[in-house]
């Protein structure tokens, strides 16, 4: 394997996991939100390494540009969280349940990682965006149209609410 790819993967994985750790370990909710963004960007980097640039751009556009901004916006609108409680609020009394769920998820992840998967020998498609578009308007036209109508309805709904 190309050493650059391996190095990039290690860097990107470190950013993703470091961001994830930061989310749970940060003292203020705002800092947690910022670490979440770091983690999102790391995931986008992994998509780039998997030769899925469209997915990577969408990840940044939707998660970093919209979801994370809305999360931070919501934090800013919450007065109590804003003022920043000085006490350590990283653990509450639900930690036994949380530990169980975490262990279960970890076991699941380990199981998935050590499973022998059938690997494709094909090289990734050179122009995945065009193929994605063709697939959307070809074999997957019905789900694509349904989602489009749903999103359009949501958009028009927003306009109607704004007109009130």
């Amino acid at each position: 394997m190309n050493p650059f790819v391996v190095l990039s993967f290690v860097a990107v994985a470190a950013v993703t996991i470091g961001g994830g750790l930061g989310v749970v370990l940060a003292r203020t909710v705002f800092a947690s939100g910022l670490f979440l963004i770091l983690s999102f960007i790391g995931v986008a980097g992994i998509y780039v390494l998997l030769e899925a640039p469209f997915l990577a751009a969408t990840q940044v556009l939707v998660y970093v540009g919209a979801v994370a901004v809305l999360i931070l916006f919501a934090i800013m609108l919450t007065r109590r969280v804003m003022s920043g409680s000085t006490q350590d609020n990283r653990m509450n009394n639900q930690w036994i349940a949380a530990a169980l769920v975490a262990l279960l998820l970890f076991a699941l992840l380990v199981g998935t990682t050590f499973q022998q998967w059938n690997l494709s020998q094909d090289s990734p498609p050179p122009d995945s965006v065009a193929q994605l578009g063709a697939a959307f308007l070809g074999p997957y036209i019905l789900p694509f149209e349904i989602v489009s109508v749903l999103l359009l309805a949501a958009l028009i709904g927003a306009i109607v609410i704004a007109r009130e």
Binding site: L34, A57, T58, V60, G65, V69, L70, M76, I159, A162
Partner: protein, 391 residues
Amino acid sequence: MVDYFAQFMPGWAAALLWFVLYAVILLVFALVNMLFITWVERKVIGRMQDRIGANRAGPFGLFQPVADMVKILTKEDITPTAANRVIYNLGPLVVVPPAILVFAVLPFSASITGVDLNIGLLFIFAVAGTATLGILIAGWGSNNKYSLVGAMRAVAQMVSYEVPQLLSIVGVVMIAGTLSMQGIVAKQAQLGWFVLLQPIAFIVFLIAAMAEVNRTPFDLPEAESEIIAGHHTEYSGLKFGMFYLAEYMSVLFVSALAATVFLGGYQIPFVPVGNVINNFLGPFVLIGKTYLFIFLTIWLRGTLPRVRVDHLMAFAWKALVPICLMNIFLVALIAPFISVTAANSPALAAPVAIVSMLVANAIMFVIIYLVIQSIVRRDRARVAEGTVPAR
């Protein structure tokens, strides 16, 4: 260029060297232009207000931006005691990279592009969208009510106007059939510039872009008469310089983007894209077109007062978004017709595309005009009855 370097070193080193060189050239280009824009703005605004503008430092005051830079660099760097120190310092660091990164996909000529990503436009919107974060971080980290209000205004405005900005370009993408910047420019050589094919979307894009980069009349996030300077109230010296830099680079980029997507980019009219003249003059033509839009933004700043907050949101959601949706609908009807014509008789493609799209846009304009007229009449009637106060 990569081929030239590859004579002396292994392929990966040549590619790396070229990327680093191109990045440095791009950075210098963007910085020099940013300084020049601040000078142009001072001069143009000065003339519009019947003043002379900067004229002391150097010929025509050309060195004024340099003096400004020295002033900014030598100012005292202040961190408010109430601020969250780490997050406060993070703000200017987060706000600049998106403004510079987007230049990577901008085509300066048929052969000069950083990277011609096949998701070019999507990359631009994804990266530019993260600029909101820097403002949010700065506003929260300063721990100042004016900063916070400014940041909230900025986020609300930028998230709202991102929608019409993206939707107005969807029509272009549907006609061009590609997201690649080079592909969009090449398509304009074939069909005619998109300003002719999509005039209404072009105007919507300009308005939304102006709001995205927080320029007057959409400068509510830093409205100095209401909230001092918005998110960068507490920043001084170089940290303030970073916000200043990011803002003017965004203006430069948005102008270049408008020139590339709607005005044919580096093309010279009636000169084929592959031509030697076009390859050499391309970058200068693009810069010329870019400054056309920069002049427009300064002109608007000199002309229009600031919009009101409620009008701002209403304008994006009630006016721009419906117009964009209507435009996408019309393009979806006509675009297949254009591509069939382009495939069968290439010579006819440009006239057919321009005439059909112009007719569609004329119809759209009439519809928009009638709708606005009926709304205005209804509102006037209500105000006359006295049921609602005047807006």
